[in-house]
C-alpha cells in the first residue's frame, strides 16, 4: 500500500476568503483509515483536496507521488470517490450508462464497457437494474450504484464520504462486509464513530485542523467523550464554525 499512499504537506484550503482547512500534514498509508469530525469540520473538503478535485491554497498533495489536481487521468486508477450525496455523483439517466461511463473513460469501447457493466450488475444480483432510470432508485440504492461505479474502475484507494448515512441496518452490515473483503486502501469519512471502528488509524478533524490522529481505541474514545460533553450543553454556540 505504501506506493499508493496519500501525502499532504502543510496543506491549507480556503474558499471565498474563508479558511476551511489549515496546517494539514498527513501521510496516509494504512489499509483502513477513518476520518471523523462534526458537521462543518471540513471532512468533505479534506476529501476533495486529497482526491485532487480542488487544489489546495497552500501546500502540496501527492497521491502515489503525483499531484492529483493535475494528473486527472492517472488518478482514475488511484482514487475512487463516493460522494456524500449520490445525486451529485450520478451523471446518467440509466444505471447501465452510469456504470459504463467510468469504464469508457479508462479507454474501453462503448460495447466493452456496456458488457462489463452488465456483468458487474449480474455479480451482485442486480441484473434487472441495467435499464432502470437512476432517478427512480431510492437514496440508498443510488448510493449503492455510486459505489458499484467506482468499484468498477478498480482504483487503488477508495474515499468514502458518509457511506453508511443513507443505508438501513441490513444494508449497512452488507456494505461493511463487502468493504472488508476489498484489497484496496479505504478512507472512510463519517461523523459517526461506529462507521470507522475497525480502522487501523483514525483522524479527528475539527475547525479544519487535525486534533487527534492515532489508533481507533484512543481517538474514538476521546472523540466520543467530547461529543457527549458538547451534546450535553444547551446552547450550540460553536456550530457556526
Amino acid at each position: 500500500m505504501a506506493a499508493s499512499g496519500i501525502e499532504l504537506r502543510g496543506v491549507a484550503y480556503a474558499m471565498a476568503g474563508k479558511a476551511i482547512l489549515s496546517d494539514i500534514d498527513l501521510h496516509l498509508t494504512e489499509a483502513r483509515i477513518g476520518i471523523v469530525g462534526r458537521n462543518g469540520s471540513g471532512k468533505t473538503s479534506l476529501m476533495r483536496v486529497m482526491a485532487g478535485l480542488v487544489a489546495p491554497s497552500v501546500g502540496t498533495v501527492l497521491v502515489a507521488g503525483q499531484d492529483p489536481a493535475r494528473n486527472r487521468k492517472a488518478m482514475l486508477t488511484e482514487v475512487g470517490i463516493l460522494f456524500q450525496n449520490p445525486d451529485h455523483q450520478i451523471l446518467f439517466p440509466t444505471v447501465g450508462e452510469e456504470l459504463a461511463f467510468g469504464l469508457t473513460q479508462m479507454g474501453q469501447t462503448d460495447k466493452e464497457a456496456r458488457a462489463q457493466a452488465r456483468h458487474l450488475l449480474a455479480e451482485v444480483d442486480r441484473a434487472h437494474w441495467e435499464g432502470a432510470a437512476t432517478h427512480t432508485l431510492s437514496q440508498g440504492q443510488r448510493q449503492y450504484l455510486c459505489l458499484l461505479s467506482i468499484l468498477a474502475m478498480q482504483p487503488a484507494t477508495l474515499l468514502l464520504d458518509e457511506p453508511f448515512a443513507a443505508l438501513d441496518l441490513p444494508s449497512q452490515a452488507r456494505l461493511r462486509r463487502r468493504l472488508a473483503g476489498l484489497a484496496q486502501q479505504i478512507i472512510t469519512i463519517s461523523h459517526d464513530p461506529a462507521a470507522v471502528v475497525g480502522a487501523d488509524r483514525v483522524i479527528w478533524l475539527d475547525g479544519g485542523r487535525v486534533v487527534q490522529d492515532g489508533p481507533p481505541d484512543h481517538v474514538l474514545g476521546v472523540f466520543t467523550d467530547e461529543m457527549a460533553r458538547i451534546g450535553g450543553l444547551d446552547a450550540d454556540a460553536d456550530l457556526s464554525g
Binding site: A51, F83, H88, L91, P93, Q105, H135, S149
Partner: protein, 198 residues
C-alpha cells in the same frame, strides 16, 4: 423519461431516419407551392400514412396535433373578419399536413436513432472543438437532470408551503435557480472525479 415515440411499432419504424427527415424537407417545401386538388391530395396522403399505423397509432397522432387548434381557430376568425372564410382551408391544410407528417416521423423514430443522426451531423464541428462524446454527455446530463430538478422544484414548493400561507408563485424561482447553479458545480466535480469531459 417520457418520449413522444409511438406506443406501437409500425412499418415506418424500419425506414432510415435520414430518409424520413429528407421526406419532411421535400414535402414541406412542396406544400408551399401546392393549391386546390393537389393540396387536398397531399392532406389525404398524410392522413393515409397516419391511418396505416392502425387505431392506436392514429389516435396518438391526432392527439399530437391538438396544440394546433388555437391557431386554426385564430386563422378562421381572422378570415371571417376579412370576409374570405374559405381562404382558411388552404392555410390550415398546409400547416396540418406539414406538422402531421413531421409528427409521424417523430413518432416512428427512436430517440437513440435521432441522437445518432445529430451526432453525425455535428461531426464537422469537431474541428471547432465540439467532440461527439461531449454532445452525447450533454444529452445524457439533460435527460438525467430534468426529473431530478422537477423533484427538487416540488420539494422547494412544499417547503415554501409548509412555512407560508401564500402560494409560492415566482418567489420560488430564486431557490430553484440557485440549486441549479450549485448542482452544476457539484456535477462538474463528479465528472472531474471520473476523468473529466475528455
Amino acid at each position: 423519461m417520457l418520449t413522444l415515440t409511438s406506443p406501437v411499432r409500425i412499418w415506418a419504424h424500419s425506414l432510415s431516419a435520414w430518409v424520413k427527415l429528407g421526406a419532411i424537407c421535400v414535402f414541406t417545401l412542396a406544400l408551399m407551392q401546392l393549391e386546390g386538388g393537389w393540396l387536398a391530395g397531399a392532406v389525404a396522403l398524410v392522413l393515409a400514412l397516419a391511418a396505416s399505423g392502425g387505431r392506436v397509432f392514429f389516435a396518438q397522432w391526432l392527439k399530437m396535433l391538438r396544440p394546433l387548434w388555437p391557431f386554426v381557430a385564430l386563422v378562421a376568425l381572422w378570415q371571417v373578419w376579412l370576409g374570405a372564410p374559405w381562404a382558411t382551408f388552404p392555410i390550415i391544410a398546409r400547416l396540418g399536413a406539414a406538422v402531421g407528417l413531421a409528427n409521424a416521423v417523430t413518432m416512428t423514430t427512436e430517440l437513440a436513432e435521432i441522437l445518432a443522426l445529430l451526432t453525425r451531423l455535428a461531426r464537422p464541428l469537431a474541428r471547432l472543438g465540439l467532440k461527439p462524446q461531449v454532445l452525447a454527455l450533454c444529452v445524457a446530463l439533460v435527460i438525467r437532470f430534468v426529473p431530478v430538478m422537477l423533484l427538487r422544484y416540488a420539494q422547494i414548493a412544499l417547503a415554501f408551503r409548509a412555512r407560508s400561507p401564500r402560494r409560492p408563485g415566482w418567489r420560488i424561482l430564486m431557490p430553484v435557480l440557485l440549486a441549479t447553479l450549485d448542482d452544476a458545480d457539484r456535477v462538474a466535480e463528479a465528472l472531474r472525479a471520473r476523468g473529466g469531459a475528455g
